[in-house]
């Protein structure tokens, strides 16, 4: 099983990409289907395994994903290069506009330097680059203990400047 970085630690990955399946009919509990294939027949794909997610390119429109959000338990956004930035905005749209609560995964050229930014945009798991160490990537989630921007998951999601006047709740 692949090592997966999550915001809770380095864990074995339960999910399998369609391309990694031994055969088209092989049994699987957690299956990630490329978005182009999933779209051809969403209902059928959802019958294929108890848990079905999709992998999407970073330039996928939020509005295209919106109608499918209820049936997805994982969305993996691809980062083909270290400077890919669209996935950060797509993640926030999924979380904040789409109220998507399933697993949000970043995959591709992910290094320790990206981790905290990704996590603060709503990602909770990370398939890091083959040239990155999962443990180092996980440790980088603690490289900053402060931030200026409000985050949905923080209990009092208010901007830091406002926290300052309501002494740091």
């Amino acid at each position: 099983m692949r090592q997966l970085v999550s915001i809770a630690g380095v864990v074995p990955d339960r999910w399998v990409h369609l391309s990694e399946l031994a055969g088209r009919a092989a049994p699987v509990t957690h299956l990630i289907v490329p978005w182009a294939e999933f779209q051809t027949s969403p209902a059928d794909w959802c019958q294929r395994a108890p848990n079905v997610g999709v992998s999407v390119a970073a330039d996928t429109a939020f509005t295209a994903l919106l109608p499918q959000l209820d049936r997805l338990t994982l969305i993996a956004i691809g980062f083909p290069s270290i400077s890919e930035g669209r996935g950060y905005s797509l993640a926030r749209q999924l979380r904040e506009r789409g109220h998507y609560t399933g697993e949000l995964r970043a995959s591709g050229e992910i290094f320790r330097d990206h981790m905290l930014f990704l996590a603060r945009c709503g990602f909770d798991t990370f398939e890091v680059s083959q040239r990155e160490t999962p443990q180092e990537a996980f440790a980088a989630l603690k490289s900053f203990t402060v931030a200026y921007q409000p985050v949905r998951t923080e209990p009092a999601a208010i901007a830091l400047v406002r926290r300052r006047i309501q002494p740091f709740n």
Binding site: G85, R86, A159
Partner: protein, 555 residues
């Protein structure tokens, strides 16, 4: 001025630790140069012609004496004893060693400074009016809003890998002293008809290869919605800005491609759909930021008389290098970094220390950096002016030329920058030497010369009254001249007058242009207005007629 609290201090220290790790990884070969590039750029570190170049952030151009003294010390110990103030109100060091940079950043962190986001494809240093808080014509002090934007934009998780760099300028006066129309976003603090404070927001301005003036995306945004609206603009840009071609990646290209109407519709849709509450500015929060920029403890003083004609040199300095302050008895003093023979915008460590001392003695310990590459002591008692003038003269910082021909904006050019096609600094020297007579400069009046060594336009040549662009023609340096540009509230892009001229001919060409002005101007008409009235034709004719004559004589 704004002071760091424990949160700000923690953040910059953690950033230094992170960069130290990144530097160690590249030096140990664990990161490729290419991977390190996108990381170091986010800390202001370029690899330039001779050495790394470190660009240090000066938020909205405001420095304390302690900070300026620290910059002077860093320039002396880690560099060659001088620094270069830029058109983004920042400071560049041209010769630091890569392995020293983490230590430099650590020293900066101890005086509440950093180099975050002074380069790279992220939100850059927020710039503003260098007369913020002291300009008689301002609606409010824009700096609290600048600081709010600075904090929001610092290490913003969503906007750290934008298609391209993103520059924001904030002004709060009818007079635009921050070139806001040539920024990716220009924020104008205004009052609406009902007297409420808010913002006119411009988007899609910029210079570079494709100069465009910003267009109004919102004529009035309520005060509380500043950050959420900026976030909506940035999100649309981040999602839809081009990433396939670096020269077409700025927001101006996106706005031009879809049109301002469509762009506005997309931003408004995102803005209305997003959760705006978390970013809503509440009055107490704005008041908290304003508490850092309260009026300084001014004395109650009578307004002094302007100097008598007795001392012509002092009178010239007073006239050109000082401006009105909104408090009676005080003046704004410009420290000219444009002396003859000096690279425009450069200051030595000794000069920086001297200015830091003078600011402590005469101007509440604060210094402002202008985007035109001078410094300002903003709060000087009129009765202290003669003494301050003497001290500034002693360090070659009192050249009475602010707003004149020799107060040129100039990029580092071929001497330092690896992007440059041609030099800028030697051209500045050439112009200075040809027009060294100050009385001639005074007779010409307000003229803005802006010069870039390549089409990236760091020297803002498109918006110079006279713009000079260095180009490479089969290995030789040539210069293209534009006329009629302006970065003021009446912003305009200059028109190219014709084929570029050889390096040795730049100052002579400018003289021909100025001669047309001197012959054609009406009483008190400024150069830019004469160009506006006549168009570029008469200037063009004179320049190229002379060039034709020159060629015929040689033949």
């Amino acid at each position: 001025m704004y002071r760091y609290d424990v949160i700000d201090q923690t953040l910059v220290r953690q950033r230094v630790a992170q960069f130290r790790d990144q530097t160690a990884r590249v030096l140990a070969g664990q990161l490729t140069e290419d991977e390190f590039k996108s990381l170091r750029l986010r800390n202001g570190l370029y690899i330039q012609r001779h050495a790394p170049m470190l660009r240090i952030s000066i938020p909205y151009g405001l420095l304390s004496s302690l900070q300026l003294r620290t910059l002077a010390g860093i320039a002396r110990r880690y560099d060659r004893g001088f620094g270069h103030f830029t058109t983004r109100q920042n400071l560049q060091l041209n010769w630091p060693k890569l392995e020293d940079v983490p230590d430099i950043l650590a020293e900066l962190a101890e005086v509440e400074m950093h180099a975050m986001q002074t380069s790279g494809n992220c939100i850059r240093n927020i710039t503003s009016d260098h007369l913020a808080g002291i300009a008689p014509d301002e609606i409010v002090d824009p700096r609290p809003y600048c600081e709010i934007i600075r904090q929001w934009s610092t290490l913003h998780p969503e906007f750290t890998y934008l298609p391209r760099k993103f520059k924001i300028a904030v002004t709060a006066s009818p007079q635009d002293r921050a070139a806001s129309q040539v920024h990716d976003v220009g924020v104008h603090i205004v009052r609406n008809a009902a007297g409420q404070l808010g913002y006119e927001v411009l988007v899609g301005g910029g210079l570079g290869r494709t100069p465009i003036l910003g267009q109004v995306i919102r004529s009035f945004l309520p005060e509380e919605d500043l950050l959420s609206y900026l976030e909506a603009i940035l999100r649309i840009y981040n999602l839809l800005g081009r990433r396939d071609n670096i020269h077409k990646a700025r927001i101006k290209i996106l706005v031009k491609a879809v049109g301002i109407e469509r762009f506005r519709a997309m931003v408004e849709e995102e803005w209305l759909a997003m959760d705006r509450s978390a970013l809503r500015l509440v009055p107490a929060q704005i008041a908290y930021m304003q508490s850092f920029f309260k009026p300084l403890p001014y004395e109650s003083l009578p307004a002094a008389e302007p100097p008598s004609a007795a001392d012509a040199a002092y009178q010239a300095w007073y006239r050109y290098n000082t401006r009105a302050h909104k408090v009676p008895g005080y003046r704004v003093v410009f420290v000219s970094l444009k002396a003859q023979g000096q690279a425009p915008g450069d200051a030595t460590s000794g000069q920086m220390e001297h200015i830091a001392d003078l600011a402590e003695r005469y101007s509440f310990g604060q210094i402002r950096v202008t985007y035109t590459q001078n410094l300002v002591l903003g709060e000087v008692r009129e009765r202290d002016l003669p003494a301050l003038w003497q001290w500034l003269k002693a360090s070659n910082l009192a050249t009475p030329n602010i707003g004149t021909l020799t107060d040129m904006i100039c990029c580092p050019g071929l001497e330092y920058c690896s992007l440059a096609n041609a030099s800028s600094i030697p051209i500045a020297h050439q112009i200075w030497d040809r027009f060294a007579d100050l009385d001639y400069q005074y007779d010409l009046g307000d003229i803005e010369i802006k010069m870039s060594g390549c089409m990236n336009a760091c020297g803002h040549h498109h918006v110079g009254h006279i713009g000079i662009l260095g180009v490479d023609k089969s290995g030789e340096e040539w210069y293209q001249i534009t006329l009629g540009g302006s970065a003021s509230e009446k912003a305009a892009l200059g028109d190219v007058i014709g084929p570029s001229v050889p390096k040795a001919e730049v100052a002579a060409t400018i003289e021909r242009i100025l001669n047309v002005y001197l012959e054609q101007r009406t009483e008190d008409e400024r150069f830019i207005d004469t160009v506006g009235r006549l168009g570029i034709e008469p200037f063009k004719e004179r320049v190229y007629a002379a060039a034709g004559e020159h060629r015929r004589r040689r033949a």
